[in-house]
């Protein structure tokens, strides 16, 4: 599979003089789950909307599924499943009616059978006759995912699909996505959850419309150059205050009674941690998490 599913470069979009997406490049291979991360308002939604033809880039371009995103939007659309941040099916139609409508919009052959299959696969069967507006958040997301899978898309664009969904439902949602990836469906998914980011094959982190880092989870952690030590035991709060003022330390995060202390120089961080730790507290080597990497990236990002 030499041809990437998404291959765009220099993509730029401004609204009213404010650059929301700034010369963004992206390459996503077939069957990949590509995580798209970044703070609120960093341009994730805008970028995804440009990929599926909702918006037209001001500059840059490239291909999506081998078609030009600027001129061949109509040929891309039939093969893409897009799930918006907001629930965007009809609340005053039933689950089944919504799916039948989507099937007809995509011109799915034998829609009844396809809808029945999808409902069974997504375990939506028992809600078949219920109005979509009456579903809970998690089930709405599941219905929306079902809606964008009916036409067997080759690419899924999911814009924060699990926002506000409970952990159980999120896990099931991700199991579905992995199942699709195994079947060769490529997924570009934006999220704010670190545990979800870790389930992606590759990640891109953007802020202020610019790409700050990309790669696999290990690559990103290694690339950040951060080392983390844990301070466990009593006196955590006092130690945190002291460490925050310490120049050798970049980040201190409290998890219950455990402090995660990170910085670029492993030895220096260890020394700082030992100095700050109160009596009876233990200092152990820890693992740098994605969250620390992203917070470092976000702090380093320069507002244009």
């Amino acid at each position: 599979m030499a041809d990437p599913v998404i291959d765009v470069s220099g993509v730029t979009k401004s609204f009213g003089g404010r650059t929301v997406v700034d010369r963004l490049d992206m390459r996503v291979e077939r069957g990949e789950i590509y995580g798209f991360l970044g703070p609120n308002g960093s341009g994730k939604t805008t970028f995804i909307r440009m990929l599926c033809g909702l918006l037209r880039p001001d500059a840059g371009g490239g291909t999506c599924l081998g078609y030009d995103i600027l001129t061949e939007g109509d040929r891309i659309k039939p093969h893409v499943g897009y799930m918006a941040q907001r629930f965007s099916l009809y609340e005053d139609l039933t689950v089944r009616e919504n799916l039948m409508f989507m099937a007809s919009v995509y011109g799915v052959r034998r829609p009844r059978r396809v809808v029945a299959e999808i409902m069974e696969r997504m375990e939506l069967g028992r809600f078949s006759g219920i109005l979509a507006g009456g579903l809970s958040g998690g089930w709405k997301q599941r219905l929306a995912l079902a809606g964008c899978m009916l036409h067997e898309p080759r690419l899924l664009l999911l814009d924060e699909p699990t926002a506000g969904v409970d952990p159980g439902a999120r896990r099931e949602f991700w199991d579905q996505v992995h199942g699709l990836a195994a079947a060769g469906v490529t997924t570009l998914i934006s999220t704010h959850y670190m545990d979800e980011a870790e389930r992606c094959h590759r990640l891109a982190y953007i802020a202020y419309g610019r790409l700050l880092a990309r790669g696999g989870v290990e690559e990103l952690v290694a690339g950040s150059g951060l080392s983390t030590w844990l301070v466990k035991g009593p006196g955590a709060h006092e130690a945190k205050v002291r460490l925050e003022a310490d120049e050798r330390v970049e980040q201190v995060v409290a998890f219950g009674n455990t402090l995660h202390v990170s910085g670029p120089d492993a030895a220096a961080v260890e020394r700082a941690a030992r100095e700050a730790a109160g009596p009876g507290a233990r200092v152990e080597p820890g693992e740098t998490s994605l969250e620390e990497v992203f917070i470092q990236l976000m702090r380093g990002a320069v507002k244009p």
């Binding site: 033809g53 909702l54 897009y82 918006a84 907001r86 919009v105 011109g107």
Partner: protein, 366 residues
Amino acid sequence: MVAKEFVQMRRDRLTFAMLIGIPLLQTVLFGYAINSDPRHLPLAVLSGDNSPFSRSLIAAMQTSSYFDLVRTLSSRGEADRALDLGEVQFVLTIPEGFGRSLLRGERPVLLLEADATDPGATSGALTAFRALAVRALARDLSGPPSSLLPGEDPVTVRVHAQYNPEAVTRYNIVPGLMGTILTLTLVMITALAITRERERGTMENLLTTPVRPLEVMLGKIVPYILVGYLQMGLILLAARYLFDVPFHGSVVLVLLLSVFFIAANLTVGVTISTLVRNQLQALQLSVFFFLPSLLLSGFMFPFRGMPEWAQAVGSVLPLTHYLRIVRGVLLKGNGVAEALVHLWPIAAFWLAVIGIGLKRFRRTLD
């Protein structure tokens, strides 16, 4: 709470403009445009007589300010056609040898035919005409030619209120109501239906599917064309069986010609939806379009009674022309030829609105 409400009002510019604009528009329209005793109504004369009496009669009519002589006719057929088309409101027929028989005291017949589809427009002028004709001629006759018995009118004035001889207002109102109801509901329903799709985010979803924008628009419009026909059917049935409105022309023709009117209104609705951000604004803008249609189309007040600027605005609105078509066909028994004269302004309006709508629609995708 109050302060917050004002801040929000200021943010929503369009709503704010409407809050000011709608009362202003209403005041202006009601205050200036409405005149229940219209004057300067167009008159055509079919005269077989060239005596000084005819001339002074016509002069007196014009001086009364009720009548403006716009045409001189040469045949009966022309007179009927002018009335059918609504080119003139009145046709005065002066019989051959009018002057001579007047002098002989034969009390010749003066015939004034009025297009009385809207009785309100003509009643004032008709009342004035009787007194005016007798007075004008009596003055000319006060010299030696008078051979009439004292106290007797020199002429017989006959007035024909055409198309609506009993001056039943509802004959005029009910067909008019059809256009008004179609305008209100169709513009509003489409504007709201499309704005709702955008407000709820379902439009975003639709636009990522292979459906084309034009298909989305058509998909939204076609069901409401059928709704429009359902409404028309109900109103026509009510007109016929509840209000006994006489149908002189072909109902099928009305239904056929209505396609353009319905389409024009739906397109206005679609275009409104491209200009607004939410359903409230859509509703307000619909009302903003509906008010002039209601007041300036000749539905509520005689078209010819309005000042010229109001008539000019009214001539742009599709309802004005649709009323003429419906009244023309139903009350006057007009056929295709007469109706077509009023059809093209509707078509022109429709095309113009489609143009604006398509231009705006492409931009809102971004």
